[in-house]
């Protein structure tokens, strides 16, 4: 994908932070409102793809390599499965929600109608792990495909 016009680039730069914040909001409030790691991750990834479309794949690939994205994805995945293993260690069962019931970290039992962010045990943490994974994963897919098709059009084969 090649670069688009200056108007598009400027508007994208303005819109990008908003999309990003919205996505992160959806990830962070996954246990309270509709949404979660996957949905929010998809929003952030589409914000990144917007940058890719506006600035071209070459520019984006100079900024971030797909190898680094792959590492981020691995970190997200390891965090997710690590949380599952923590359930095994602290709660005796794989995938146990061991944080529910304590009063300090995400353990409060919520009441209907009230939005308390300090609830749901390991769910918010898992949301973040999955969110990181989805952002890196989806963006890596689109980036790699965009770069591959660009090269082909230029006749390099």
């Amino acid at each position: 994908m090649s670069e688009m016009s200056k108007i598009v680039r400027t508007i994208t730069s303005i819109a990008f932070p908003f999309a990003m914040i919205y996505g992160l909001y959806v990830i962070a409030h996954g246990h309270l409102t509709p949404g979660g790691g996957f949905q929010g991750g998809a929003i952030v990834a589409s914000a990144c793809v917007m940058i890719l479309v506006a600035f071209g794949s070459k520019w984006t690939l100079d900024k971030i390599k797909e190898k680094r994205l792959s590492v981020f994805e691995s970190i997200g995945a390891v965090a997710f499965i690590g949380l599952a293993f923590l359930g095994l260690i602290f709660g005796t069962v794989f995938f146990n929600n061991f944080l529910v019931g304590n009063e300090y970290l995400f353990g409060v039992i919520p009441t209907t109608g009230v939005a308390n962010i300090n609830t749901a045990g390991i769910l918010p943490l898992m949301n973040f792990a999955v969110g990181l994974k989805v952002i890196a994963g989806l963006f890596a897919i689109v980036l790699v495909m965009a770069y591959a098709t660009t090269n082909y059009k230029e006749g390099k084969k």
């Binding site: 590492v71 691995s74 499965i81 794989f94």
Partner: protein, 527 residues
């Protein structure tokens, strides 16, 4: 007598390869050799756990069927007054039997990869995908939840499709990969559709709960047909077999060995659906007016026979080494389905049970024999860079060990007496003869023709004068010989002591399949 194991071992069997797969991209940034050792260690550890768990389950289920349960995320004691929401792993003798096959094949494939794949780029992703494929197959085999089965089915098909297309510089590989993913996605979507139909009626996803609740309404029949068609398509039965020779022959040899495992995992799905999910109806024909088991059995038998015939006939015509073995694999799958069909049609009789024993035994034999042959084909490719049989000749002089392994694989796959294929095929012939003599005769004839096809290969590739262009051909590296040696040793062991294997491994698996009432009571009966 059983070895003490933590109760979360079934979860560990999935978690180890998954964690390994997630860590591989990080580790391969350090060092390539370290990554190879890491991957082999992970799969070795996995094989170790699977074997010990298998030992435990086989010893316990020698007296009566035994199921190991594991509940994810909640209390291990299932409260029967509440619905089962969480995902369960239900490991019985049949699932662990398949798990042994899968983890052995993957372990061998990874050892073989060390030398075989050395000159390729993109190996960190290759090893990641191999680990993911292992996790997917094992998940399919151990899970007791239908939707979870679908998820693992998708992991298996995506990773194997990507691996089939590993040699992207060859158009045919990419095309084969595309074919594979197209077929598997359609199959997986049908599976999901069937799961949704069942969910909509009974509001449950656990296999045991569903099996207990199923009423055999019209919608249940639709779901049964969808599940069997989709999974049999993935197992490569004629007329939906065309993807199989393509993807088997275009993929690297190590991937092909893994694909044999993936195909057998789908076959396991068919068995699970027929014998457990719909077991209440199919295992107990007296319950219903229509003999459903005979209907489904006779639906499977013709397809199986056609698979055998098509596989053998096409194998005779091939000049491409790997394609020939791939068609032989189609025929082998046909034998397994023939046994299953016979077992269903003759449910309740003595020879129906014999047929199932033969079929289940043939699953492991098929995996070993076909796996060994593909590894031999890979070794020849490694040494000569040649697939076509017309170009080969006189390789026996330079590649002694490979030739020996090929002879072992040849006799085993054709069902010659001292090897393992004979034992299982004999059971299949015996039981099908009692059902219908023509079936047995066709099966025996095709087996002989299969031998002819492989003898042709042996003659054209290994015998004859030494060709000048293969003067410098050397024996393949030790790691590849070691990998082939593992499979060959198991084949010889199984061939020498078929009774031992039948008694200790196959019988418990068949018992686990047939004892549906115990399955339900052991899962649903708490404790």
């Amino acid at each position: 007598m059983s070895i003490p194991l933590p109760e979360y071992t079934p979860a560990l069997i999935i978690a180890i390869p998954l964690l390994g797969a997630f860590l591989t991209p990080l580790i391969s940034r350090i060092n390539d050799k370290l990554r190879n050792i890491f991957v082999i260690l992970v799969l070795g550890l996995n094989l170790f756990f699977v074997s010990i768990l298998a030992y435990n389950i086989f010893t316990k289920s020698a007296q009566e069927p035994y199921i190991m349960k594991y509940v994810f995320g909640g209390s291990q004691n299932i409260d029967l007054t509440l619905p089962i929401v969480r995902i369960l792993f239900e490991v019985d003798a049949m699932s662990i039997f398949m798990a042994i096959i899968a983890s052995t094949l993957m372990f061998v494939a990874v050892i073989y990869s060390w030398a075989f794949m050395k000159e390729n780029t993109g190996l960190d992703k290759y090893y990641t995908l191999m680990l993911l494929l292992t996790a997917g197959m094992l998940g399919m085999m151990l899970t007791g939840d239908l939707f979870n089965f679908f998820v693992f089915l998708e992991i298996t098909s995506i990773s194997s499709a990507a691996l089939v297309a590993f040699w992207t510089h060859k158009g045919e590989s990419v095309e084969a990969g595309f074919k594979y993913i197209l077929i598997s996605t359609i199959g997986a979507l049908f599976v999901l559709f069937a799961i949704a139909i069942l969910y909509g009626q009974y509001d449950a996803l656990n296999i045991a709960v569903l099996a207990n609740a199923i009423q055999y309404t019209f919608l249940d029949k639709i779901a049964l047909v969808l599940l069997i068609v989709a999974l049999a398509m993935k197992a490569g039965i004629v007329p939906m077999h065309m993807w199989l020779p393509d993807s088997y022959s275009r993929a690297p040899a190590t991937v092909t060995v893994a694909l044999v495992g993936a195909t057998l995992a789908s076959l396991y799905g068919v068995l699970r659906v027929i014998f457990t999910l719909y077991g209440n109806i199919l295992l107990d024909p007296a319950k219903f007016d229509i003999p459903v088991n005979i209907f489904i059995g006779w639906l499977i038998i013709p397809l199986a026979v056609i698979s055998i015939i098509v596989g053998v006939m096409m194998a005779l015509r091939q000049t491409d080494f790997k394609r020939l073995i791939a068609f032989a694999a189609v025929a082998e799958i046909g034998y397994i389905f023939l046994a299953i069909g016979t077992g269903l049609a003759a449910m309740g009789t003595e020879y129906g049970r014999t047929a199932l024993e033969g079929g289940i035994f043939h699953i492991i034999n098929d995996a070993l024999d076909v796996g060994l042959l593909f590894l031999v084909a890979g070794a020849i490719y490694y040494a000569t860079k040649e697939w076509s049989l017309n170009e080969m000749g006189g390789l026996a002089r330079n590649m002694k060990y490979t030739t020996i392994f090929f002879i072992i694989g040849l006799f085993a796959v054709a069902g010659m007496p001292p090897f393992n294929g004979f034992a299982s095929k004999l059971l299949i012939y015996e039981s099908t003869f009692q059902l219908n003599p023509i079936l047995a005769i066709v099966a025996i004839l095709c087996s002989i023709l299969l031998l002819a096809a492989f003898v042709k290969v042996f003659h054209s590739a290994f015998m004859g004068p030494k060709l000048p262009k293969f003067k410098d051909v050397k024996e393949v590296p030790k790691s590849m010989l070691f990998a082939m040696g593992i499979l060959a040793c198991i084949i010889i062991f199984f061939g020498l002591f078929p009774g031992l294997v039948l008694e200790n491994i196959v019988r418990p698996a068949v018992d686990a399949l047939l004892s549906n009432a115990q399955y339900l009571s052991m899962v649903l009966g708490g404790a």
